[in-house]
Symmetry: C2
Subunit: 179 residues, 2 copies
Amino acid sequence: MRADAQRNYDRIVSAASEAIARDGAEASLEAIARSAGVGSATLHRHFPSRWSLMEAVFAERVDCLFDRAEELRDAPEPLDALVRWLREVAAYATTTRGLAAALLNGPPEESSTCQAHLIAAGDSLVRRAVEAGAVRGDVATADLLTLVNAISLAAQQAGPEEAERLVTLMLEGVLVRQG
Amino acid sequence: MRADAQRNYDRIVSAASEAIARDGAEASLEAIARSAGVGSATLHRHFPSRWSLMEAVFAERVDCLFDRAEELRDAPEPLDALVRWLREVAAYATTTRGLAAALLNGPPEESSTCQAHLIAAGDSLVRRAVEAGAVRGDVATADLLTLVNAISLAAQQAGPEEAERLVTLMLEGVLVRQG
DNA sequence: CCCTAAGTGGGGTGGTACCCCATTTTGATG
DNA sequence: CATCAAAATGGGGTACCACCCCACTTAGGG
């Protein structure tokens, strides 16, 4: 990749990051190109679809969550580690407007990179929690992340604390515990 | 309301219903007006915002769920009634593309009519289930509906059976039951 | 230094939401 | 039944969007 192409790529991702934080997942690509000081054609060549741009923007965030999962993997309390990580995922998805929407509503193939990365990160935490007897064995990491993302999407206008409350409710369950 | 205005109103809602079922919540208003045999200005006068049209389209469905709740209110098993009703809500929201999105992502005031109607419908079922000792007392009907809608939205591309699975998971909880 | 291939962005196309206003239609009244 | 003012209508206009074509520019290896 030529140096100028790389420079423009970075500028676009940076501008898109700001625009999405401000306007959500439906931010105008034209405006992003403009604020990056780049023609719209350049943006569309680097990122053929809206989702590919999303993915580039969120890759950094997802990497961060991935690293966080590795940190928590050796925490003393497996359940605590998992719950804490899921809360961080929810917080990221709720505050970074559009992340949840991108992960859930994006075309299957195109949003799978982020999704797969996140699932890989969460998997070890889930497995440890299951082995510790704190989490049901028939729970898939993908399900957990889908639910957390769904909640984040639903609570986007209510705020992060509402999302956290709903995540807790989901983990504990609605039905009374009958042993 | 004049007779012709009423006729056009009905035509628009009918066309919108089809379009949303086919194309989802982002269906083109212009196309809806066209297929209703009506100018776009007429559509925009009757429905100032996209959400107001959504509301009109979904009102029928929501009424149906409301009636269903009343039917189930006197069912012998309160928990069974509640679970069945929530599954029906999920099924409606998943199949009627856009219902979930409309209820969750719509502006607070504009989507509140549907939401309020649904909460009112579910409330009696939740209360009965709580009194029967089957559901936690600190669970709000609104939370339940938010979660069900969130799941529906998340499972929209996966299908109704996936949504049902996730609803069950949410109700039972992810953590192991420790009495 | 030069030349070629990669990269660029202005401008075009076709689509969208939403609004203005001249024209038509309705239905209550004389 | 004829009249007519108010209500309703929709064509056309504006502004914006995603996406694409293609003449021009620039990087960087020989």
